[in-house]
């Protein structure tokens, strides 16, 4: 079963996966996590990956974000095959193109909210920025409703606020794509909807492609597309016309 190819402007897609396969070698033998996955994602799209546990959502996110390499197939971002880049090149590539939000990735405990937001710039210099990075960080934090928490430590934050810090950190680098693995898993309904609506706003206003995995249909239905996976293969690639839909 192949994935739907979106070719918005009849030009090279922003991201393209061609016949991707991923197998893992375990003590019990080889396990196929993904098979025959072909998919395109355009800038400004909000894509939800949905499926039961073990369906390959996280593996697919990792391959899209170049955190893992496919066993077979190609991953092409803006015309460049990223699955064959060296580890060193990938570090630079990821810095420029991707931001990640993990379900488990808590902020660093020794840094406050602002320092956690600016964390990437401990490792590389921001490019093409006119304004002050610190001011921009404060603006992003405020826009996420954490204006009163700028200098607070992570231990003083709630689960929803911690996830907003992760979003702030993802935004500060001006990525072309945000990849989020179960970003709403441990949040209450208000915070879940806040996170996903923020993604939606970002994808539309800043033309960022956002791909996230979720079990939650209410959350998934607020995306532009829902890619359904089961046992490592596509079940359905669904375009959502109503946004947000009533569940």
């Amino acid at each position: 079963m192949g994935g739907m190819i979106m070719d918005k402007n009849n030009s090279t897609p922003f991201l393209e996966l061609r016949e991707v396969k991923k197998t893992f070698s375990l003590a019990s033998g080889q396990v196929t996590a993904l098979e025959h996955i072909s998919l395109t994602i355009e800038k400004g799209e909000l894509v939800a990956l949905v499926g039961p546990s073990g369906s390959g959502k996280t593996t697919l996110l990792n391959i899209i974000g170049s955190l893992d390499r496919p066993s077979k197939g190609e991953v092409i971002l803006e015309g460049i095959r990223i699955d064959i880049l060296s580890e060193e090149d990938l570090v630079h590539f990821r810095r420029e193109k991707f931001s990640f939000i993990f379900q488990d990735a808590k902020p660093l405990r020794m840094l406050n909210v602002l320092e956690n937001t600016l964390l990437p710039f401990n490792f590389f210099k921001p490019k093409n920025r006119n304004g002050n990075i610190k001011d921009e960080g404060i603006e992003i934090i405020k826009s996420l409703g954490l204006g009163h928490r700028i200098y607070h430590m992570p231990s003083q934050l709630s689960g929803g606020e911690i996830q907003r810090v992760a979003i702030a950190r993802a935004l500060i680098t001006h990525p072309a794509m945000i990849l989020a693995d179960e970003p709403t898993a441990n949040l209450d309904r208000d915070n879940r909807l806040f996170v996903i609506d923020t993604f939606r706003k970002l994808s539309k206003e800043k033309d960022i492609a956002v791909v996230f995995s979720t079990h939650d249909l209410e959350v998934a239905n607020r995306a532009d597309r829902i890619v359904h996976l089961k046992d490592g293969v596509f079940l359905k690639d669904e375009i959502i016309s109503c946004n947000p839909c009533q569940v």
């Binding site: 955190l67 990640f100 990735a105 808590k106 660093l108 964390l119 490792f123």
Partner: protein
């Protein structure tokens, strides 16, 4: 610079684990510093003491443990009969073959007893000496206040003894039933003499019923001072011909103690090597455990753009800083241990001599231990994939 700041903030956050690491580094550094300082102090102080001692040859009762050069014959119940003094002088005359040369023989009788000094009675070492011949042999011997005794019932006190007992010139000290007027206070020489009461030799013999015996015989001869072979011959002849005594030169004393010290040091160096090995193993375990608990943090740092080399810089900076602090604490602790070791065990009388050369040595050892123990786990964890780091069950 940002990476180092991150590392320093992390040290402060993990105070408990950092403290464990610090202790694991401080212990070997302190032990190493102790050994280096002890060796150094002993090396310089033994030869220093021997040269300051002022005598060419010492004769003490046989089978008495040689401890401090200034304390030979003090802590013993063994004595030398006065009759052998003439015999010893005769042997020396025969060795130097110069009848005109002046040979000074100084005898001392040491006895421990209760002395009423100031308002309290205190157990003290009383040294019976002949002030005139002592000063002839040791003209550098100085009193800080008062004068040298001229009468039978006059005494001089060691500097420390006088200050601790709050006794000054013109006060009285009572030894047994006899009262002695303190006429002088000796300068402190950082030796056993600082704690003694000096009274005329004949009076001390009478007081303690030790007529006809002495504790130690010190001899000064210019010829023997100049010629080591002659000195050696004199020592051998005395030991061969005079029974129940042991003659030795101050230089021999130094050599004996030095040989003993070197044997002790070899043993201590083995302990240091073992301590460093145990320390490295402990640091390795602590670092491994800490890093595994930080796997998700490593994944996070990599996901926001940290390269492997940057992670190595962060983690190694943390551990090397702790190593450096360990070295900074270990050296003064080593100084303290040197003092305690000398005071209670080795009793070299060397005191503490702060050798600044050992400061960088201590710092380097701290850094070395830390680096050796932390490099492998740090290197290994820096290679972990982001995807693996979030799959791990370890919790930070």
């Amino acid at each position: 610079m940002e990476l180092i700041v991150l590392a320093m903030k992390d040290i402060l956050r993990r105070k408990g684990k950092s403290l464990y690491l610090l202790i694991a580094i401080v212990i070997p550094v302190a032990i190493l510093s102790t050994i280096l300082l002890t060796f150094d102090n002993a090396d310089s102080s033994l030869s220093d003491l021997a040269s300051k001692f002022g005598f060419t040859l010492i004769v003490q009762p046989k089978n008495v443990r040689v401890d401090r050069i200034n304390q030979i014959g003090v802590n013993t119940q063994e004595y030398i009969p006065e009759g052998v003094i003439g015999e010893i002088e005769k042997i020396i005359r025969e060795v130097i073959r110069n009848p005109k040369e002046k040979v000074i023989t100084v005898v001392r009788l040491y006895k421990e007893g209760n002395v009423l000094a100031g308002k309290s009675e205190v157990n003290s070492v009383v040294a019976g000496i002949d002030f005139k011949t002592e000063l002839e042999a040791k003209p550098s011997w100085t009193i800080t206040s008062g004068r040298w005794p001229m009468g039978d019932r006059e005494a001089v006190l060691g500097g420390t003894y006088a200050s601790t007992q709050r006794v000054s010139v013109s006060d009285t000290v009572t030894i047994g039933d006899s009262a002695f007027t303190v006429v002088g206070i000796l300068q402190n020489y950082n030796s056993a003499e600082d704690y003694m009461v000096f009274a005329p030799f004949a009076e001390v013999q009478k007081l303690f019923d030790k007529a006809g015996v002495v504790s130690v015989i010190n001899i000064q001869s210019a010829s023997l001072d100049k010629d080591k072979k002659l000195l050696q011959a004199a020592v051998e002849d005395i030991n061969k011909n005079v029974p129940n005594i042991m003659a030795l030169s101050p230089q021999q004393f130094s050599t004996m103690k030095y040989t003993l010290l070197k044997k002790t040091l070899k043993f201590l160096v083995a302990i240091v090597a073992a301590t460093i090995a145990v320390s490295i193993f402990s640091i390795f375990n602590i670092v491994t455990s800490v890093l595994y608990s930080r796997v998700k943090e490593i994944g996070l740092l990599k996901s926001v753009g940290a390269s492997r080399s940057q992670l190595l810089i962060i983690f190694l900076s943390e551990y090397l800083t702790i190593g450096l602090i360990g070295g900074m604490i270990g050296y003064p602790l080593g100084l303290l241990m040197t003092y305690l070791l000398d005071s209670f065990l080795l009793k070299l009388g060397a005191g503490i001599r702060v050798n600044l050369f050992y400061v960088p040595v201590a710092l380097l050892v701290g850094i070395f231990c830390s680096f050796i123990a932390s490099f492998y786990p740090t290197y290994r964890l820096s290679r972990i994939k982001i995807t693996e780091s979030f799959r791990t069950q370890w919790e930070g």
